[in-house]
Symmetry: C2
Subunit: 312 residues, 2 copies
């Protein structure tokens, strides 16, 4: 059974996951990926966050581009454009193998959990990675331009429309991954880490699963969240913009408060040390660390700080 469970979205979360896999024994780590971003495109089942974790943690991620696979080619998209197919969602040729194979295995009756385990093993991912649920949950973004499916908001509209709310379609009946529920009950569990992912797009879909908040609260290990906001700004993506649009103050305190009642510890950046008291006021223990992860040593250091804070 894992000693460390991490809840992760895509790019930001994967960075900390990569560090965690080095800060603890990989066999002690279980990563739960958000699948609220999953969608069916051209008939293919795409699981962006699962793939990003695999790519990031097996040396396959495209660092220049910031998403997708390294050594990628784009012949499929080039031909698809010739055929008049949609080109708002970029499908790299290597990336496409993940989607086609996943879709094919699902069509054979395999669960998303089974397919994720197969993909992870084949890519030599050194730790366990599971989808939050085998049931479909679809994050829908309420915006000034209407309700948009997550990928349409995020990729097609480039996070442009002002966000007024979010819903997680299907979450109310989706079953949390049984392996996650079992791991949360294990007395040897040492830490539950909420990665520095977008709280609304990446973490809340996981937390929306029935019974999961309670299971996290009941677990024998502390829940520790890492800030995705440093100095009032998001490292990447629309987190800061969304917070402002949702009427929140854009700082680490607002993120900590968003998780209030669930987390025991909040890791904020050293440069936000002045916010520690406000976090403490929400009954959350603040921990200062360098949270910007530029390279592998940053990732590992932050992961060690997170685990030390949890085990302390």
């Amino acid at each position: 059974m894992p000693k460390v469970i991490a809840l992760s979205g895509g790019v930001g979360g994967s960075k900390l996951v990569e560090g965690l896999a080095r800060a603890c024994r990989p066999e002690d780590l279980l990563v739960i990926a958000n699948t609220g971003d999953d969608f069916i495109h051209l008939g293919l089942h795409i699981s962006p966050d699962i793939d990003t974790v695999i790519y990031t943690c097996t040396g396959r991620s495209n660092l220049e581009q910031g998403w997708g696979q390294a050594h990628e080619t784009w012949s499929f998209m080039d031909m698809l454009r010739t055929l008049g197919g949609p080109d708002w969602f970029q499908l790299g040729d290597r990336d496409l193998a993940m989607h086609v194979w996943r879709t094919y295995r699902l069509s054979q009756g395999a669960s998303l959990t089974a397919v994720t385990q197969e993909l992870a093993q084949r890519c030599a991912l050194p730790f366990a990675l599971l989808p939050m649920s085998d049931d479909p949950v679809r994050t829908m973004v309420d915006t000034a331009e209407g309700v948009l499916p997550m990928q349409n908001y995020f990729v097609e509209k480039r996070c442009g429309p002002a966000v007024t709310g979010l819903t997680y379609q299907g979450a109310e009946t989706a079953r949390p991954n049984p392996a996650l529920l079992a791991a949360l009950e294990d007395p040897a569990l040492e830490a539950i880490v909420i990665c520095p992912s977008n709280p609304f797009l990446s973490i809340d879909p996981i937390l929306a699963l029935p019974g999961l908040r309670q299971a996290l609260r009941n677990a024998p290990a502390p829940v520790i969240a890492v800030t995705p906001i440093i100095g009032g700004q998001a490292v990447k993506g629309p987190t800061a913009k969304m917070m402002a649009e949702l009427g929140l103050h854009v700082d680490a305190v607002a993120v900590a408060r968003h998780y209030a009642g669930l987390i025991d510890i909040f890791v904020l950046d050293q440069q936000d040390a002045a916010l520690a008291d406000a976090i403490r006021a929400s009954d959350i223990a603040p921990v200062l660390a360098q949270t910007l992860m530029k390279g592998l040593s940053d990732k590992r250091s932050l992961a060690e700080a997170v685990l030390n804070a949890a085990i302390r």
Copy 2:
């Protein structure tokens, strides 16, 4: 309505089709592609002969390789192998766009005819191309190693197993393309060309469609077949090997006799001039031409010879 109808398989047939599109006005040409080779692979609907005609006649074919698209990349297959997917059928990255888009459009309820027309138009194919039927027909090859679906025989087994017979699953209930049936009744029709494709794998699946032989016989234009065998050898592929395995003499006469009762004219190669009398004895008018098509001028010359023979 078309003045020339051509029945075609893949590589060999496409060469003559390319010539026909230059020997007559492209808008006068209707090409009917064999779909007995179609199959579902990794959940994708693959129509090899349709794609080969499109690639060949729009300057997209990979001349060095002999199949698939030019300027192709292979990243998908590389990653698919990493994932443990099957690699006996090579899917190029560009090629994949045809399969994914076709599968997606079919899943939306579009007919194979509609999708083929869309693909052809987007690729700027200058003439009409239609599948022989919108209903599935699957060529099964009876061999010494058991019954093999066409692509498993052709690609996976590299035509190795000895062929003992062929069946065209679904042909008995498949409806010939209505546009083909209508075109065959047009009094202005001038020629029906059976391309130099493999008779058993590429042409017989078309001829197996209910009522089609009779419709070809009843058409107001001559039916003219072009030999795929020159000097006792196939230009490409397993035609000669299959003929021998099926107990046929491997020469142009045996091909002409295979089509006896259906065709009016048989175009054989100049080097096989000595066989003309044997063909005439089967009530088929022999026509000599240079049938080996090395380049575009060969294709056009042969197409002109075919059309001249039909209209003569």
